[in-house]
């Protein structure tokens, strides 16, 4: 029977060396964590740049959703509140009322409300809008350009394989930070 070997106290050199190795590993881990955090990309979503959009109507048909996730929106500070709104009325309206033959929107998604003669307010009924951009085209051509298209993120699937982006002839679709998911028109840019 042999006696168990009594462990010897660590030497001073060994203790310092072990401490340094531990500190090095700790710093390496911390540095890796910080580096990883800084290099992590922010989540992005698809959006349509209104200044690149050429109103080709494909947003209405290319989206995988049956009613497109792209909707027309109204920039009220830019709107001229025109009585003869070229985004609302057909290019050759018979009369300036809400009868179907005078409306440009194929689904009647723009609501017209008289404010004070001759000013009218135009509002988009988004659930009805199909994103065809006919109104956008009319408004951009002859009006202030206050109507424009945007991907509505309450409808968009964010599938990262946007079929509209693939079909967009103007390359107007791009990834934007999820924290700032809309690309809005503003008066300064319009001016």
């Amino acid at each position: 029977m042999t006696m168990p070997e009594i462990p010897q106290n660590p030497s001073r050199r060994g203790f310092l060396g072990g401490g340094l190795r531990g500190a090095f590993l700790f710093l390496l881990g911390a540095a890796s964590t910080l580096l990883g955090r800084n290099t992590q990309k922010e989540k992005t979503v698809w959006q349509l740049d209104p200044y690149k959009c050429i109103q080709c109507t494909r947003c209405a048909t290319e989206c995988v959703l049956e009613v497109s996730a792209v909707k027309c929106v109204q920039a009220y500070p830019i709107c001229g509140y025109c009585k003869l709104c070229t985004g609302y009325f057909d290019p050759q309206p018979v009369s300036l009322n809400t009868a179907a033959e005078n409306q440009l929107c194929p689904v009647g998604a723009i609501k017209r409300k008289a404010l004070e003669d001759p000013y009218y307010e135009y509002t988009i009924d988004e659930p009805v809008c199909i994103g065809c951009a006919k109104c956008v085209k009319g408004c951009v051509l002859f009006g202030n350009g206050s109507f424009f298209l945007q991907v509505r993120h309450d409808r968009c699937l964010n599938c990262n394989d946007c079929s509209i982006a693939r079909g967009c002839p103007a390359q107007a679709f791009k990834r934007v930070p999820a924290s700032q998911p809309y690309l809005l028109k503003d008066r300064e840019h319009q001016a």
């Binding site: 018979v94 009322n97 009868a99 179907a100 689904v107």
Partner: protein
């Protein structure tokens, strides 16, 4: 089956023996249910595909039919039939589109539910671990019956689910799209209207009233003033037709040409309808028989203006030379004209008195209508620019035309609203509007009781009194609801609420006790809750209005300038009930009688009622 003896000392416990002849039948039922679910899914899938294919054909974005119709309309912009076709096709396509979308969405959920059921059933029915059953015996008839019951229950549940889903789809597929406003085509002038002046009818013998002024009951049964009893345009009768056809004469009791122009409204007492008319040279008061429309009498009012008096300022748009509505107390009929001439006739057309109030200093012509309180005729005579103490409120003795009292000069310029008489506690007040004051006067003495600064500009809408609130409105300021029991300047103390959307500049408000409705000249209809002033809704009608709105039962009646009558459901939400054309320009407000509605058009006096 042998009974199991109970040998335990405690309470008797029954033990159900496990019978080898009662196998678990749910797996077999699940197998059948799985196949039924699969069939259900296939049916839904087929319907979804069909729906999708059909939806492609009803895509309004690419509809060649609609594009062709619109192109034709450009070539023929006056083709009303083409417009009608476009509107119908547009509405139909949008309905179809919405229906397809809803069907697709609900079909997707049904398919998902069916698939989930199928997977669960197939898992339970087929893919269950089978244990060895050494004592497996053939299934006896009783178990077959149980299996059949289970299968039938499963089929029943599935059928009920499918039927329920189908009902949901069909019940919600009704479109919610509102048809675009179809501006009613003004009807052609009725060919049945007599071209020549009809022979005067003999007035029916009516017992002469013995009291100097009518009771409240008598007033309520008639339409004695502008906007009826109290000036609130609430019809006491709803027993007349709400639809009519002027061209065919359906539900048009009569239609009589008007000889002298005017924008005033008809007033009615018993069987006599009164209107006034005037041009630059003459002024007339006319009486028609309510039952037949025949002229009873027509009397000229000579002017009391001294020779060389400058003619009054008149704008045809503001009603011409006879914009003020006459008033009748069942004893006499009283009329006022833009010249400042006031006249009273008895109901047989005999002149009683005339009075000249002086040439009104009014920008567009004096247009405030008359009112009466007991045996006094109330005349609001606002003039000038608010300086020089020209404006006043007068009470004349109805029998003689003499002044009973005259208010202190009103601090307002010329106005065009009509005063109303209201009862507050035991006191009767006359409420008159001008810029900027709504003022209440004691009806007995003419002394001012209270005033509220609530108006602006050229005040034309008349005030109304409803649910204990005086409602005064003018475009550019507010709709103000004033509690009428104050004294002095009540601007800061008695104004219950104010609203500033949809304010009219010509038409007067109307209230049904719960909501107050405003219609602007450009066709914006706005409703406010009377108690709180909270907006209930706002609806753009895209029509022009000068005739003030009325309440008929639970309906709101709006009549646009082209003569299109629009019936709207009263209440917190806008709901149009229908439209009917009167066939000519209408500026006046209607009068409602027992079984009849009388309207003054530009050319005819029209009575809606059973022929």
């Amino acid at each position: 089956m042998p009974a199991i003896p109970n040998n335990s000392p405690g309470p008797a416990a029954t033990v159900r023996p496990v019978s080898p002849s009662e196998p678990n039948l749910w797996p077999q039922s699940a197998q059948k249910a799985a196949w039924i679910a699969l069939a259900f899914c296939l049916v839904v899938l087929a319907l979804l595909v069909t729906n999708y294919v059909q939806s492609l054909r009803s895509d309004p974005l690419t509809s060649p039919e609609l594009a062709t119709l619109k192109a034709e309309l450009v070539k023929n912009p006056l083709d009303d039939n083409l417009k009608k076709s476009i509107r119908l096709r547009d509405l139909e396509m949008r309905r179809q589109l919405t229906r397809h979308q809803e069907l697709g969405e609900r079909g997707g959920w049904l398919l998902l539910g069916g698939m989930a059921f199928f997977v669960l059933a197939i898992k339970y029915g087929y893919y269950k671990k089978k244990l060895a059953r050494p004592d497996k015996r053939p299934i006896v008839a009783v178990n077959q019956a149980r299996e059949i019951r289970h299968a039938m229950a499963s089929v029943g549940i599935l059928t009920a689910l499918a039927a329920g889903g189908g009902w949901v789809v069909s019940s919600q597929s009704e479109t919610k799209i509102v048809a675009p406003i179809v501006v009613a085509k003004a009807a052609e002038k009725s060919a049945t209207a007599p071209a020549a002046q009809p022979e005067p009818a003999k007035p029916a013998a009516v017992a002469a009233p013995t009291t100097p002024y009518p009771t409240a009951d008598e007033i309520a049964k008639n339409w004695p003033r502008f906007r009826g009893p109290g000036g609130i345009a609430n019809a006491a009768y709803t027993n007349f037709p709400f639809t009519w056809n002027v061209e065919k004469g359906e539900n048009i009791a009569w239609k009589t040409p008007i000889t002298t122009p005017g924008a005033n409204s008809a007033v009615v007492w018993d069987n006599t309808v009164f209107i006034t008319g005037a041009n630059a040279k003459k002024r007339e008061v006319s009486a028609y028989e309510l039952t037949s429309g025949k002229i009873l009498w027509q009397k000229t009012v000579e002017t009391g203006a001294p020779a060389g008096t400058e003619p009054p300022n008149v704008m045809e748009d503001s009603g011409g030379f006879a914009p003020s509505t006459a008033v009748t107390d069942g004893r006499r009929v009283y009329a006022i004209f833009v010249t400042g001439d006031l006249a009273a006739f008895d109901l047989q057309g005999n002149p009683v008195w005339t009075r000249y109030l002086g040439r009104p200093d009014n920008s567009y012509g004096h247009a405030s209508s008359l009112d009466f309180y007991q045996d006094r005729l109330i005349v609001l005579f606002d003039q000038g620019d608010g300086k020089g103490d020209k404006s006043k409120l007068l009470a004349l003795e109805t029998a003689t035309g003499k002044t009973a009292w005259e208010s202190k000069p009103r601090p307002v310029p010329n106005s065009w609203a009509t005063p109303i008489t209201i009862k507050v506690g035991k006191r009767d007040l006359i409420v008159a509007c001008g810029n900027p004051w709504v003022m209440a006067y004691d009806a007995i003495s003419g002394s001012e009781v209270w005033r509220a600064k609530a108006l602006y500009g050229e005040v034309t809408p008349s005030p109304i009194y409803s649910a204990g609130l005086v409602l005064a409105v003018m475009d550019g300021e507010n709709l103000s609801a004033i509690k009428p029991d104050g004294e002095g300047d009540v601007t800061k103390t008695q104004v219950a609420w104010k609203a500033e959307e949809g304010l009219p500049d010509i038409t007067s408000p109307v209230a049904d006790g719960e909501y107050v409705y405003l219609i602007t000249s450009s066709g914006a209809l706005t409703a406010y809750t009377l108690a709180t002033g909270k907006k209930a809704y706002s609806q753009e009608l895209e029509l022009s209005f000068k005739s003030s709105p009325s309440i008929v039962g639970d309906r709101l009646l709006l009549i646009d300038e082209k003569g299109v009558a629009i019936w709207v459901q009263t209440g917190p939400k806008f709901k149009e009930l229908g439209r009917c054309a009167l066939g000519e320009e209408i500026l006046a407000s209607p009068a409602f009688l027992d079984g009849r509605m009388v309207l003054r058009g530009k050319s005819n006096l029209i009575c809606v009622g059973k022929n």
